[in-house]
């Protein structure tokens, strides 16, 4: 099974909060043993959410925020120049965080939008806002409540890297997911 169909399946699984897919992916990420290790996710998980973790499946289920290997460990979504489109590679990240919010309705998340320094500062502030709003919209489409997601834009004012080259700019065009 290729990665694409795998992701589509995961997407479907999260969207409808149904049983997870039986297939195993070769590049499956490890999740923590939820039976013995009480993570943030299981601590306050609803009964519905617990069904995610009962399946013997390594690719779905609500991950722990603390799991360095889990999909929730990805906290930064990077963007192309002057774009607020979510790149395909961040689909899984967005879905995992949305599912986490669904499973933890009392959790509030902040999406912090940023831009690279090129062009004008106020336009970049608006661009950072649009990036954060795009991620928020995706997460709410996946079931998260809009009330759980705060957005803030820093534009180009808080770069991750202060240098003035292509690599730095690629690292600065981002939305940071903060819990």
């Amino acid at each position: 099974m290729n990665t694409k169909s795998m992701i589509v399946l995961i997407f479907t699984a999260f969207l409808f909060a149904c049983e997870s897919t039986p297939e195993k992916a070769d590049d499956a990420v490890a999740v923590e043993d939820q039976g013995t290790n009480l993570s943030d996710a299981t601590d306050d998980a609803s009964s519905e959410a617990q069904t995610y973790g009962t399946e013997d499946d390594e690719t779905s289920g609500i991950s722990s925020l603390d799991d360095p290997q889990g999909p929730l460990s990805v906290r930064i979504i990077y963007f192309e120049y002057d774009s607020s489109d979510i790149q395909f590679e961040y689909r899984e990240t967005v879905e995992a965080h949305a599912a986490y919010l669904v499973a933890n309705p009392n959790t509030i998340m902040t999406l912090e939008g940023h831009a690279d320094e090129r062009g004008s500062r106020e336009y970049n502030l608006a661009l950072g806002e649009r990036r954060a709003q795009t991620v928020k919209r995706q997460m709410t489409l996946l079931g998260a409540s809009p009330d759980q997601i705060r957005t803030v834009s820093y534009g180009e004012e808080r770069p991750a890297i202060d240098d003035h080259d292509d690599y730095s700019w690629s690292q600065n065009r981002r939305v940071e997911i903060l819990y």
């Binding site: 062009g119 106020e122 502030l125």
Partner: protein, 440 residues
Amino acid sequence: MNIRKFGSIVFFTHILLGTLLVLNNALALDITIEQGVENPIPVAIVPFGWSQTSLAPIDLSEIVAGDLERSARFEAMDFKDLPQRPAEYKDVNFRDWRLLGMENLVIGQLVLTEAGEYEVEFRLIDVYKEKQIAGFRLPSTKAQLRTTAHEISDIIYEKLIGVRGAFATRIAYITVNQKRDGSKIFSLQIADADGHNPQILLESPEPLMSPSWSPDGKRLAYVSFEGKNSNIFVQDIKTGKRDNVAANKGINSAPAWSPDGSSLAMTLSKDGNTEIYIMHLESRTLRRITNNQAIDTEPNWSKDGKKLAFTSDRGGSPQIYEVAVRGGGKPKRLTFNGPYHARPRYSSDGNSMIMVTGQGGIYRIAILDLRNGFSDILTKARLDESPSFAPNDHMIIYTTTGARGTTLAAVSADGQVHQRLALQDGEVREPAWGPFLPRR
């Protein structure tokens, strides 16, 4: 470097001013001329007389010469080459000056009045016509003497170039300094247009943005992230008292004063998308100007108060649009030639507009002639932004980022004169050139 030693070298002349001047812990900007005009106007400024026997409280002629030299449109005669040093008209020996080919002569004196105040008298003289072009007596105070010198420069500029000088004005800007632990300190500062007298108006560990002068020069609007979100503040410069005028959910940014001072145009995203609004400051009522799914931001008022120019990507890429303040209607697109145009600023005479233009990863300052639609790129670096007109439209101050860090630079509207304004340490950006002082 001695400011008096200019000689005839205008190109690549370095004028370092106030390098060590420290006021309010703020460092002064060093202004360097990187390129001047080809034929600067020669002018001789004779050291001003002083009515007392004690040392004069200020060297007015040095300040005037510095102003004129920095504009790069004048070439001041080296003080040591002056054939005579008259303080009064009757003492001018025209023949001496004619022999040196010196056309324009400035003489004057500083007088301490019986009331303990100051009076500055100066004359601008046409040597060939043996005629006084301008003569003024300006009352002043000890604290105001530098400003008085700049006012003299403004008059000389006006008499010899035809447009009021903008030396007796101030600029606002944002500085960023990195502390030892890597954290940053942002500050909002103002200084005289020659970089002197820098004053910190606000310091914050969170970013500051977009300073905008009230038309009377008494207040600044700006954006501060001190509440972990962009908020708009209006601060009284003298008292430091300030109001948080916009603190909605989402973006509160890009404040721009209406020419009558009653309102601020601004960008808010409280209704879900970045849109431009006008806030009446006294009543705090809001009127929405744009209504579009795209980004609409960076409003700027035409000087007659009738139009707003702004940046929008409603056409797919950021471009400049213009809309009537009253009645609204469909915004008219002003820029077509290139994939990126942003941050418009109207000139005072309404004939042109400056902006950031981007193409192939290079961002420069462009000027658009609103009468015929032609545009010119004025700057030469790769990352130029935040252009702001001097109130006489002759110079444009902006931010430039390059190998020497992020500093301010200025370019004349005709592209001939280039200056650099840098701090010894740290970043300086987002300059906003303040208005003229009221004429007296």
